[in-house]
Amino acid sequence: MSATKLIKLTIDGHDVSVPEGTTIWDAARQAGIEIPVLCHSPRLRPVGVCRMCVVDIGQRVMAASCVRPCEDGMKVDASSPKVQRHRKVLTQLLLSDYPENSRREQTTGDDQLLALARRFGIDQIPFAEGASNGARGRDASSAVIDVDHQACILCDKCMRACNELQHNDVITRTGKGYGARIAFDLDAPMGSSTCVSCGECMAVCPTGALTNKLIVPVRANRRGSNR
């Protein structure tokens, strides 16, 4: 096997060289430059749907760094004011119909969208509200996972985790336009779908859309029945 070709580029002024095929996001990470992201994780196939990781490569439009391969001589700007402004507006857009209470912030405490809001110092949403809270629905039918469609940003991480990591092939998308949302099997309630409750979707979800239910302390009377 011949050695993979090395690509040389700069990211925020740092010289970086990576094997051909490496994405800008991975190259930046190796160089210690963290590019924010919602729909991507190194465990998943990149799809570039959330656009939070966009970078300026001097072209007409910005590039989603999680899917764009590095090119020789590329000059990547990953943190200019323009890029930051873009990310801030995107965060505000995603928050415009976000529920007032993120179940993720209240359970595992790691809501990544709210973390971005903190990072960008967002104090107002300059857009009309989307639908009113709760309009996109909630599904509490699973024994372990709460589904809040209002908090879903359609990043597809849960689909990739379910179908490509665990190969359970349960989660898909349904609907069009603003009605688009994730679905289980042929749009069954999660609790009566073929879901095996592995929790991988919950683990990768960046928002309050898929969160752990509280494992209620079992109130066993000492007689031995749990129910």
């Binding site: 405490g109 095996v196 129910r227």
Partner: protein, 735 residues
């Protein structure tokens, strides 16, 4: 414009802001997933579990690992030593359900504490330990060491297993020590020791990514090794062809290139048939056979009559499928074999495993990436407990108790005379208790009342014991027969090393404080030893590990320091620079050359007949663990799968006028249970399946205690039963 106030989105009272993170392991299966417990120290509760980037799981978890942690915090945890009250003798079962099986008044649930607890009184530690050690010592001194026996557990750590077998061997003076491996892979290990000289896997699960073909037989990985199954499915998605073999269609068959559904118990015929085709069509590795294998000619002769046509008759499979599977496997550049209890839990379990070993050997599929033999281990530490010598025939590291040199070595190591006599196995100890030759027992974390075959026999055996010491975290069915019960620590409350199915030794760390007066298991073993006059004093659990490691070849390079956060595979010649060996036996086997042991087909012990026309297969479901003492006390797991069932084919159901959700009585020659019917086409007609977890409809009331003559493993996968429709028992919810 909408104002956005971050503080509105946060809940300042959320406990997660101040949780402690503890890097540990999953307590359930042999895959050995690494995880992180988030713990609220104020309330001593685990609040959630996250997957960690362990070698076996890459952050993935299953429902048990992610949501099954709350059993440790259950209010029924034992918190004080208990002593049986004088009025509760002569001994016997205490709750109606354990006395009478499923004819009890109430269905469902766990041991009834209200019924059982009044028969015990709380004691302090000194009183309970002195009584237990005193009674065990008395039996030893009057009747000799062989009147005592101990069951350790594959749920315990390597350190606990090592200390427990040391206690039985050195303080009890007998080799009557065994654990649930006997009910699990004893036959596989026997065949592997005989064939290559090592009972551990040759290649790790995730090596399947390098295999062209993998046989996945007698196992149901998506339910029983769910995270391992995700890597098998990864491989299948990238082109590895799976040949899935199981009389009960496992879900992984959906990802397979070929699914074969042989008649239950026809395994030897099938594998001999595959080998016959491979030899006849020269799909074998003659060079590998010449260099590394003995006994090929004899094997060739014995498998020669197993032509596809004859094997088709014996297995019920189309002859062409046998030919196709043999060609697919035989033509692979690298092929791997995974197997589970469907191979091992038969009266011919050792023969089944011998066939799989031969299949790998004649095709040269050992010692390279993407090849090898992988018996999927059940318990989180069944590999380690066996390595640590929790087996009646061998000291730690499989050193024979029959070898006088080894005996002398351990006599020096432990400073006491040892018995040269091979001890009794789990099933033999139950028989000996019934016959009266075993009079006293120490059970650490095992629940043989539900896990052993033929419960009615186990009930009599446990009642017949003069003295029974039970150490556990809950009042189990077995504890109802105890004289003294010691409250122990759960996995989440202790430090220890655990060896997974891949031979990876990993450290479990404590996340919780043990409830009440409950103590560490390893300390209790030492207390019993010390009070029997055999000093067992260790400064720490690490010191126990070091003593164990020093008397083995495989662990001796390992220590808590070099295991670190992620563990090592053994063998690990250079732990400073290497994670250990993913693949072993690249050049030679511990025996030198592998020894092929050909097998002929033999009939199961109890064939179906007119009176009992169905074959019963038993096993597990995704959400539950073994006898259910953990998972039935887990809120989520119990909510998802709350009750027992018998799975029957639609054609058989129609004949018996059974509909999905109906109640049925299932009877064998040993007993009967009542449970709901699930009509599914996973079993072939003529065979039914019942999970083992549910005490109110315990599958092991029905099972046959007949054992494999070499592995001494019971035939959990085959006995004859009959089924009839019944009305719903009183106090049961409608379907």
């Amino acid at each position: 414009m909408k104002a956005f106030r971050l503080e509105d989105t946060q809940n300042p009272t959320t406990a997660t802001a101040k949780v402690k993170r503890v890097d540990s392991l999953c307590p359930y299966c042999g895959v050995g997933c690494a995880l992180t417990f988030s713990v609220d120290e104020t309330s001593n509760r685990i609040v959630d579990v996250q997957g960690r980037d362990g070698a076996a799981n890459a952050e993935r978890l299953c429902v048990k690992g992610r949501y099954g942690f709350d059993y440790a915090m259950h209010p029924q945890r034992l918190t004080q030593p208990l002593i049986r009250k004088p009025g509760s003798y002569p001994k016997g079962a205490l709750s109606a359900i354990v006395k009478n099986g499923s004819r009890a008044r109430k269905a469902g649930g766990l041991v009834d504490y209200d019924e059982v607890m009044p028969h015990f009184r709380e004691a302090n530690w000194d009183e309970a330990l002195d009584l237990a050690a005193g009674r065990l010592k008395q039996i030893r001194d009057v009747h000799g060491g062989d009147a005592l026996a101990g069951f350790g557990s594959a749920k315990g750590s390597n350190e606990e297993a090592y200390l427990f077998q040391k206690l039985v061997r050195a303080a009890f003076g007998t080799n009557n020590v065994d654990h649930c491996t006997r009910l699990c892979h004893a036959s596989s290990v026997a065949a592997l020791l005989e064939g290559i000289g090592s009972g551990a896997v040759t290649n790790v699960v995730r090596d399947i990514e390098h295999a062209d073909v993998a046989i996945v037989t007698g196992c149901n990985p998506t339910e029983n090794h769910p995270v391992a199954a995700t890597f098998m499915k990864d491989a299948a998605a990238k082109g590895t062809k799976l040949i899935v073999i199981n009389p009960r269609r496992p879900q992984i068959a959906d990802f397979a290139a070929m699914y074969l559904q042989p008649q239950p118990g026809s395994d030897v015929a099938l594998y001999n048939g595959l080998m016959q085709v491979m030899i006849a069509e020269n799909l074998i590795d003659r060079d590998f056979i010449a260099r590394r294998v003995d006994g090929f000619e004899e094997l060739k002769e014995i498998v020669a009559p197993y032509t596809p046509e004859r094997v088709a008759k014996l297995t019920g499979l189309p002859a062409q499928d046998i030919v196709d599977a043999a060609r697919l496997f035989g033509r692979a550049k690298a092929a791997m074999i995974f197997w589970g209890m469907g191979i091992s839990q038969h009266t011919f379990g050792t023969d089944n495993a011998r066939c799989l070993i031969a299949l790998a050997m004649i095709s040269g599929n050992v010692g390279r990436p993407g090849t090898g033999l992988h018996p999927l281990r059940g318990q989180n530490n069944v590999q380690g407990a066996s390595d640590a010598g929790l087996i009646p025939m061998v000291y730690p590291d499989y050193q024979s108790v029959k070898d006088p040199k080894i005996q002398t070595k351990f006599e020096k190591y432990w400073g006491v005379k040892l018995s040269p006599k091979i001890g009794l196995t789990v099933t033999e100890i139950i028989g000996a208790a019934l016959a009266g030759s075993v009079k006293g027992m120490y059970m650490m974390g095992e629940n043989p009342f539900l896990s052993d075959p033929d419960i009615n026999k186990v009930r009599k055996a446990l009642s017949a014991l003069e003295f029974l010491l039970v150490q556990d975290i809950f009042l189990t069915e077995t504890a109802e027969f105890a004289d003294v019960i010691l409250p122990a620590s759960s996995f989440m409350e202790k430090t220890g090393t655990y060896t997974n199915t891949d031979r990876r030794v990993q450290i479990g760390r404590p996340a919780l404080a043990a409830p009440g007066a409950a103590r560490q298991d390893w300390e209790l073993i030492c207390e019993i030893g010390n009070r029997m006059g055999f000093p067992m004093k260790y400064a720490s659990i690490e010191a126990v590990f070091d003593e164990f490691a020093a008397c083995t070849k495989e662990y001796k390079t390992l220590s808590y320091d070099n295991l670190g956060a992620y563990g090592k595979w053994y063998p690990c010649p250079d732990p400073k620079t290497s994670p250990g060996e993913r693949i072993v036996f690249g050049d030679s086997f511990p025996l030198g050359k592998a020894k092929l042991v050909p097998a002929r087909i033999s009939a199961p012990n109890e064939m179906p007949d007119d009176a009992y026309p169905f074959v019963l297969n038993t096993g597990r479901v995704l959400q539950h663990w073994h006898t259910g003492s953990m998972t039935r006390r887990s809120h989520a797991l119990d909510a998802i799968e709350p009750e027992a069932f018998v799975e029957i084919h639609p054609l058989d159901a129609a004949k018996l006028k059974l509909r999905d959700g109906d109640w049925s009585q299932v009877e064998s020659r040993r007993g009967e249970i009542q449970l709901r019917v699930r009509v599914r086409d996973r079993m072939s007609p003529g065979a039914v399946f019942i999970p083992m977890h549910f005490r109110e409809a315990a599958a092991n009331v029905l099972t046959d205690p007949a054992i494999d003559p070499i592995g001494k493993i019971p035939t959990f996968k085959f006995c004859a039963v009959r089924i009839k429709r019944i009305d719903a028992p009183p106090n049961t919810a409608a379907s």
